[in-house]
């Protein structure tokens, strides 16, 4: 009976409807480079490219913005992919010997990539009852013949099977077994040996009836499919790796495991051909590695391209990842930083053309995609408009800037263009141009900043579906790093032969781990930014359109103040280069502040209007006036018992070498393993089996019980002094009548320090403020009793909205905050959210997330959610990501739960740590070291692929042109399924009158009321000025969730009043 005491009488239907108009969860698009790619395909007719990954994902890319994603149900590596040219269909082979046919189809008014058919190849002897000996044991190669209606499958056993693609059924009776081929061979070549697996199958562009078959042993056969006979035989003796059939059909190229390739003439002489016309070992004479793939492309201007991968001298360059491009006498050895998966050329595929005329070479590497323009002299690299290797150096932090002003955008773009050696025109030569992007031009420009381990900050255009690199800022030039000597050694001139050319930007090796960027903040109105790093360096930079040479002013701030007895055992601080330094156009450093001890910066914030930057480390925080270049404040937050904080980052004796090794390992190691996928019957069965096994041997569980200690946090827990967040606000700290600049700092142990700042006021009209010192006076110190780390602090104005950014209001880009009073501060800790009144800090509302849900807050952001139903209606809410990977949305300032969704797997710690929210209800998190998943919580603000593709297949009849639209993404290629939880029913459902009032500040009564925050809270919450929370409020809060209804604590606490509530 007591259970029902606090239960609410159902949810408010009006509020429920409003919530559906405001909130919706979608995983929309994956940005960056697919993790662990394993296969590549290109459709020259549609000009689209497909990449398959080791986790079974298929991604199709065309023109920028054209993207399709699919995921195989099986957790298996995609080993081969083949487009059915022009049909928008894709045949994939997985390493579990299953074939899948994917189609880009129209479906119920929306279209997407979906799996049409799948075929598990019979792998057991005798299973395939057609003809005893040849079995379809293991498919090694696939070739589409007859305009894609049929596929030839080469197997390990040396047979070639034929498959009807439209049904994925084997065509009986056409199978070509090895003995049939052996029959046409001379006896001395046969000599009892098998031919080995089929290594290569090549079709002929002009004569689809003929197939070139290459066997592992070296034998090449031209098989006439129509006549069912062997046309020609080439008796190669070298183990075969790959084959290419020249356009005219007169020349064959074969590559071999010893690093040689051979050219065979198909016209001259009679069958069998005993010797190639030419055989060469390009990187001989010493033993070389195999040439894995070779392409031969001829040109109208005469000559031909030979492009091959591998073949490097085993001893000296065996560890390099190289593709060699040879044309006439020109040889370039493209030296990549990661393993080569596959490559293709973009060239003419029309049978009537006499020449291939390759335009571009696309090389898919383990970590990036590199495209070279083969028509421009020097074969320059074409900058990719998407598939950017986000992880070219490991990402250490990220930040999102919304609504970037057009002027700043143009300046950043132009700075980026000056950076890249290529002229902007080469961007237009991106060869993969299939499909059309139907998405509207983004209404606002969004900038994603990523900080990297090597001290760079990369600027990405995150406005649309394609994440486009804009600009790269490097901070390493300001410092003398440890590895400079090593670098100069590496730069020592190499031998002229082979003619290496470094290509690609994936470079995971950090010069010095201290350069790593920890925090980034950018002011979009003044184009000033702050970059803070691992060695306590805080850099204030300013965007300049011109290169310049200038000295950077330096300062250091001792955050330990006069604390004694601490010794820093971590890394030394970076030694900056002094004197004038040349800076290219772009963000140029102005001021460098170094924290002492040089611990990693854990929080940073910038206020450009006041020219102040605040920064915090594990030891304390500081405030610096970068206009006058003088420190304002330093405060130590260390607890006297906290000795661990002094020992340095992470480990006690961490050498540079060790950390290098770690960063190396981190890159090597796939961070995301064991991807969760859609539950199918198989996995259910597995789960059940696993459970059975667990039950069968319970002692195993008993043997090593995982225990958790239940003990409240104490003040002297280690690392309690870490500064977690810093915040500037113009609000009421001294008294309710005067507002002024304030700075807030929150620590790991639940302490919040609020400083009143004395900032000289700028004279009207002048940008700069007078040259007077800024003063800071400690105003309030709040110790949260639950001592959980403070994750975020924000001040809400009289209308319950967060204060705008500096300059935002003064430049008329945001509504001016309500300064009539009634400000409140929202403090989000890892366990609870609390709103306190200002200036008297008394608790007003709160939500105890951990006590109710058992989850802890990881990331928090205030975001504006616009309604899909009403153009002008929007609410500001608190979005929160928990350690379980769930996203919760709370109303502000009422702190009522609105919706929650499961977003990230809870095991994916790096994904949760990397999450960043935008101001309009979207977010990004890393699903692999190289990919950001984009998600949206807003029902209106969704960025997803919206594209069309002119495909032509309808069994060869009319070339119907479908106009396809990519739907909201149904599956995620790389991991978590987009499970959409129903908006939870247990929300507080503030009454609709309240929410309307709270968010339509134009209402005069809300504007004028000194208690407007209170009036903004739902009517059943009555707050009085002393901050006491009334009985009704207790009921309301705790009744706001189903669990809370049962919350015994309240039953006990409110025993005395229970009857009053019951009577109601």
């Amino acid at each position: 009976m007591m259970k029902f005491r606090f239960r609410r009488q159902g949810a408010d239907p009006q509020r429920e409807k409003l919530k559906q108009e405001l909130f919706a969860f979608h995983k929309t698009v994956e940005h960056g480079f697919p993790n662990q790619p394993s296969a590549l395909a290109f459709d020259p007719e549609l000009r689209i490219m497909a990449i398959g990954t080791r986790s079974g994902a298929v991604k199709i890319y065309g023109a920028p913005g054209v993207e399709f994603t699919g995921l195989h149900r099986e957790m298996a590596t995609v080993t081969q992919m083949h487009f059915l040219p022009g049909q928008g269909r894709l045949l994939t082979l997985l390493d579990d010997s299953s074939l899948h046919l994917w189609e880009i189809v129209h479906h119920n008014g929306c279209a997407h990539l979906e799996e049409a058919l799948s075929f598990q190849l019979p792998s057991r002897l005798g299973f395939d009852g057609a003809s005893g000996p040849p079995t379809l044991a293991h498919v090694t190669v696939i070739l589409l013949v007859a305009a894609g209606n049929m596929a030839a499958l080469g197997t390990e056993g040396g047979s070639v099977f034929f498959l009807d693609v439209s049904t994925l059924m084997l065509i009986e009776g056409q199978t070509l077994g090895p003995e049939e081929v052996l029959r046409s061979l001379p006896d001395d070549y046969r000599c009892g040996k098998a031919l080995g697996p089929v290594e290569s199958l090549q079709g002929h562009l002009r004569d689809p009836t003929r197939i070139l078959i290459g066997y592992s042993r070296g034998l090449l056969v031209i098989w006439n499919q129509a006549a069912q006979c062997v046309d020609r035989v080439f008796l190669g003796n070298q183990q075969l790796e790959s084959l290419c059939w020249e356009r005219s059909g007169s020349t064959l190229v074969s590559s071999h495991s010893d690093g040689s390739y051979a050219i065979w003439s198909a016209d001259t002489g009679s069958s069998p051909v005993m010797q190639p016309t030419m055989a060469t070992m390009p990187y001989g004479p010493f033993p070389c590695k195999a040439i894995n793939k070779i392409l031969w492309r001829n040109c109208a201007s005469g000559g031909h391209f030979i492009i091959f991968s591998g073949g490097m001298p085993r001893a000296s360059y065996g560890d390099r990842h190289c593709v060699s491009v040879l044309r006439a006498d020109t040889l370039v050895t493209l030296d990549f930083t990661s393993r080569i998966i596959d490559f293709f050329t973009v060239h003419s595929m029309r049978p009537e053309d006499e020449f291939d005329e390759p335009q571009a070479l696309a090389v898919l590497l383990e970590e990036e995609l590199v495209v070279l323009d083969l028509q421009m002299p020097g074969w320059p690299v074409v900058p990719a408009p998407y598939l950017a290797p986000l992880h070219s150096s490991a990402i250490t932090c990220s930040a999102h800037v919304a609504n970037v002003p057009a002027k700043l955008w143009a300046r950043i773009v132009s700075a980026g263009e000056q950076q890249s050696a290529q002229p902007a025109s080469s961007a237009s030569s991106w060869p993969i141009t299939g499909g059309r992007n139907l998405a509207q031009e983004p209404s606002q420009r969004g900038l994603l900043l990523t900080g990297h381990e090597d001290g760079t900050v990369r600027f990405w255009d995150a406005s649309g579906v394609a994440l486009r690199p804009l600009y790269k800022l490097s901070t390493a030039g300001l410092f003398q790093t440890d590895c400079e000597h090593a670098d100069s050694l590496a730069q020592a001139p190499e031998d002229d032969w082979p003619p290496f050319r470094k290509v690609g930007c994936f470079d995971p090796y950090s010069d010095d781990p201290r350069l790593g960027v920890q925090k980034v903040a950018l002011c979009k109105y003044t184009a000033q930014m702050v970059v803070a790093g691992t060695a306590g360096q805080v850099l204030v930079l300013e965007l300049s359109d011109m290169p310049s040479e200038q000295a950077v002013s330096m300062a250091s701030v001792d955050l330990l103040q006069d604390r004694e007895g601490f010794t820093w055992k971590g890394h030394e601080r970076l030694s900056p280069r002094t004197g004038p330094l040349p800076w290219p156009a772009g963000f140029q450093p102005r001021v460098l502040v170094q924290c002492l001890p040089p611990a990693a910066v854990t929080a940073v914030t910038l206020h450009t209007e006041w020219s102040l930057v605040a920064f915090g480390t594990s030891h304390g925080f500081g405030l610096f006036d970068y206009q006058r270049k003088s420190p304002v404040l330093a405060r130590c937050t260390l607890h006297p018992n906290d000795s661990l904080a002094m020992e340095g980052p992470l480990s006690r004796v961490k050498s540079l070498k060790k950390s290098l090794r770690q960063s190396f390992r981190r890159i090597r190691k796939s961070r995301v393993s064991g991807k969760k996928r859609v539950v199918n019957t198989n996995s259910k069965l597995q789960e059940a089996n696993a459970q059975l096994a667990e039950q069968a041997c319970p002692h195993d569980v008993e043997m090593t019980p995982v225990q958790r200690r239940i003990e409240p946090r104490s003040a002297d827990d280690s690392l309690s002094g870490v500064v977690r967040c810093l915040y500037f606000a113009d609000t009421f700290l001294r008294d309710a009548a005067h507002h002024g600049p304030t700075m807030w700092a929150g620590t790991n142990s639940g302490s919040v320090f609020a400083y009143a700042l004395e900032v000289p006021v700028a004279v009207a009209g002048s940008e700069k403020r007078p040259e007077r010192a800024v003063e800071a006076v400690l105003g309030k110190e709040v110790q949260l009793m639950h001592r959980a780390p403070v994750v975020a602090i924000a001040v809400l104005d009289g209308r319950g909205r967060p204060l705008p950014e500096p300059f935002e209001a003064s430049q008329d880009l945001a509504q001016a905050p309500d300064m009539q009073g009634g400000h409140a501060v929202l403090i989000a800790s890892e366990e609870q959210f609390k709103v306190f009144t200002l200036p008297k800090v008394s608790a007003k509302t709160k939500f105890k997330l951990t006590a109710h849900e058992g989850c802890r807050v990881r990331k928090v952001a205030l975001a504006t959610f616009a309604s899909v139903a009403c153009e002008d209606y929007a609410e500001t809410c608190l979005a929160c990501l928990t350690n379980l990977g769930d996203v919760h949305v709370f109303s502000v300032p009422g702190l009522r739960p609105q919706v929650h969704y499961s977003c990230i797997r809870k095991e994916d710690i790096s994904g949760i740590a990397s999450c960043v929210f935008t101001r309009h209800g979207q977010g990004f998190y890393l699903i692999s070291p190289s990919e950001f998943e984009r998600f949206s919580l807003s029902a209106r603000n969704i960025t997803e692929p919206l594209c069309s593709l002119d495909i032509s297949w309808s069994h060869g009849a009319a070339h119907a042109s479908y106009r396809l639209q990519e739907s909201p993404k149904l599956s995620q290629a790389n991991g978590t399924p987009g499970i959409l939880l129903a908006p939870q029913s247990r929300d507080g459902s503030p009454n609709p009158v309240h929410s309307k009032r709270a968010d339509t500040p134009e209402r005069p009564e809300a504007m004028l009321s000194p208690m407007s925050i209170d009036s903004a809270i739902s009517a059943d919450t009555t707050l009085d000025t002393t901050g006491d929370i009334t009985v009704e409020d207790v009921k309301d809060f705790l009744g706001s969730s189903e669990e809370a209804a049962k919350n015994l604590r309240n039953l006990v606490e409110d025993e005395a009043r229970a009857c009053a509530i019951l009577i109601k």
């Binding site: 569980v701 058992g854 006990v1052």
Partner: protein, 370 residues
Amino acid sequence: LGRRFSREQLCGYLSQARAPRAGRFGAEFRRFSLDRQKPGKFEDFYQLVVHTHHIANTEVTIGYADVHGDLLPINNDDNFCKAVSSANPLLRVFIQKREEAEQGLATGSLSRRRKALALREEGPRRRAHLHIGLPHDFRPVSSIIDVDILPETHRRVRLYRHGCQKPLGFYIRDGMSVRVAPQGLEKVPGIFISRMVPGGLAESTGLLAVDDEVLEVNGIEVAGKTLDQVTDMMIANSHNLIVTVKPANQRNNVLRGSRAASGSSGRSSDSTASRHSLQAPVPHSLPADDMESDEEPDVVLEGDLEPRSVPRLPPGSLSRVNGAGPASGLHGPGRDSRVLRLLSSFPPDIHHSLALPPGGVEEHGPAVTL
């Protein structure tokens, strides 16, 4: 009126140091020394005290402040010895008129932050009437609650941690529990207590034991939650932890209808009234935050912001504590007081060794050496 004063005097004793002696039972301070090794009998001590204060014909109860600042009674030889041995080196002894103490009103806290404390009455049985209710002179450490709404196989235990320096002292683990389902018995994952820390609060209550299955934490079911989630929930509620367990040993269950026999721990629900009597009184306009009465309020320290010209406030010079703790300025001098406070010290140099909060007590009373 008297009730209110007696409470305030206890919490605001700091300010009474300068209070002039008003009436017979105004605050009065005496200092004397005792032999730490041989403190003697309680009777002698009692005589000494009443003699020293010239209140020989008044019945008083004697209490002392232990190391945690809690007011504990001295009423027999044992706790007298304990009190003397806990002196560090000063022992603060509090004397109160017995009638007052027995009204159960004199409960209070030396420091407002620690709410639970009580003055032990001496010999309530000697009184004509019997006390019905929780003995209010004990500090509760745990209770069994909600016996009437829970199945008999379950037990809901509340652990009080206020002012207690003991660790909560238990560990939890994953395990499998057997449930009766429509299909028969089925095994479901559960959370169990895996270990007790010797001397911890959980062990000392005797209400929780190893292998007890945890069903709820503060009213929220743990079914479907991971070990880490439950850990976080328990720690988040650690100031007032209510765990519903299914004891591994089902023989000690509280039986329905025999509540009277089960004593205080068998009360159907935790009495709010008794909790309130244990709480420190609210002396001024503190937020009487009933919702949060279970939890310690956040401490807000205010910097001295009024003089705007102050260049910079050195950290640490925060002037006053707002909203928590005995605000030193709030209890002005001259308040009528009915508590005798007696500072008995062993070494003579008490000024150096007074383990008192900052703000200190100035000694005016004559030092009595015996």
